[in-house]
Symmetry: C2
Subunit: 215 residues, 2 copies
DNA sequence: TGTACATCAGTGAACGCGCGTTCACTGATGTAC
DNA sequence: TGTACATCAGTGAACGCGCGTTCACTGATGTAC
């Protein structure tokens, strides 16, 4: 692992702390998990890492830089939740049925993540955010696809299976995403807050029915 | 207007400032309009009203109390946007057509408001919020209906007109609201940010098509 | 109508808070000879 | 292998900031007689 090369800048294999960057990032993720993006406080992260406040500046340009790293991790976690749902889609059944199931899996993963990991969800999608259109290993699970790309892929499958007219494909991800994003937020901050998971799941399924019929 | 009664606490008709409560509230609304809920800063509101910071405590219990008043005003503004759209629904046409048009009007009002008054929208629906189920003059326009109640009424009309099976009515407001809420947020904070109003309107119409078909 | 009094809206000054960030530093580690 | 040196991760102390909020006050206004 430790390859020192005369011609390239020397990379130290260890730091005094061990791996302070990772420790700070993980503290940040924990803070986000509990309190959303505003809870990602640089000083608190250093406190949890057992280090002086300014030590963070060796690893992150500033507080926003740390927050951005936390957000990337949160996006990856959303992608993993989707992948967990996708993995449960049976490979039996018609291509059409499978394609529909995949779209539902992506949506259900999103909704369940929002409910189970509220703080991380709000960190990923709570403030301003954009989506990348190219796979990025940092943002996905095994596949390297981010949440948006999982949705796109599922919709493409729907077209391939003949379950969605190609003419309706453009922009469809924004319609589907809107739907599921809205319910996620209503269930976190809005009037659906406090609704038991079971009812939320039922409502989520009705929502996905609506999208299937409506797209 | 000034009725002084021996048996009830005396109500002064004027204050030194004139009406500091209103001045602070309006400053707060202005701050929210420009920067969302976090921008509603008590000290800044007093600055704009030309008054010492602590003067606010004569009229609001604390900063949260001021924010709550601003939020109520923001909700009323959303309701008014909906009412403006509803007023344009032609009274000709079948009851079914009218009912559909009303649902669309409510949705379009919501989406347009989110785009035109981003800060107020985020103040109304950005953080934790609940909806009242009883009309409250403070929250509505002429009707006193809040945004949620407008949506409910429109869906009821859809059932009455026979365009929505009664069995599907319960919970339908959450499905419809989710859809439109999600797009509103994607167009404010998400990947739809910066999309021109015209395209957003088109996407919004497709979204409402989807809801109509899917409900 | 005039005067003494009570009310209470707004003042002026100060508080503690926790934050992000900068500075000059120190001393453990890796490197060159 | 040993020694002198350079690097740079983490330290310690301090900063200015703007915030919400509390305190004792003052003086314009309305009220009672």
């Amino acid at each position: 692992m430790t390859v020192t090369n005369r011609n390239t800048p020397t990379l130290r294999s260890t730091y005094r702390h061990g791996d302070l960057r990772r420790a700070l990032l993980e503290a940040g993720i924990d803070l986000a998990r509990q309190g959303g993006p505003d809870a990602v406080v640089l000083r608190e992260a250093t406190r949890r890492a057992g280090v002086a406040p300014n030590a963070a500046y060796r690893h992150f340009a500033n507080r926003d830089d740390l927050l951005a790293a936390v957000r990337t991790a949160a996006l990856a976690a959303v992608a993993e939740a989707m992948e967990a749902e996708l993995a449960q889609v049976p490979t039996t059944g018609t291509p059409t049925a499978q394609a529909h199931a995949k779209v539902r899996a992506v949506g259900a993963g999103y909704l369940r993540f929002a409910h189970a990991e509220t703080g991380l969800f709000r960190t990923a999608f709570g403030g301003r955010f954009t989506v990348q259109h190219d796979p990025d290993p940092a943002m996905g699970g095994a596949t390297g696809l981010n949440p948006f790309q999982h949705l796109s892929a599922a919709l493409d499958d729907l077209v391939t299976a003949g379950a969605l007219p190609p003419a309706r494909r453009p922009g469809a991800e924004y319609l589907a995403w809107s739907t599921v994003h809205g319910m996620a937020l209503l269930s976190i901050d809005g009037p659906l807050r406090g609704t038991p998971q079971q009812m939320l799941d039922g409502l989520g399924q009705r929502l996905l029915d609506m999208v299937e019929r409506g797209l």
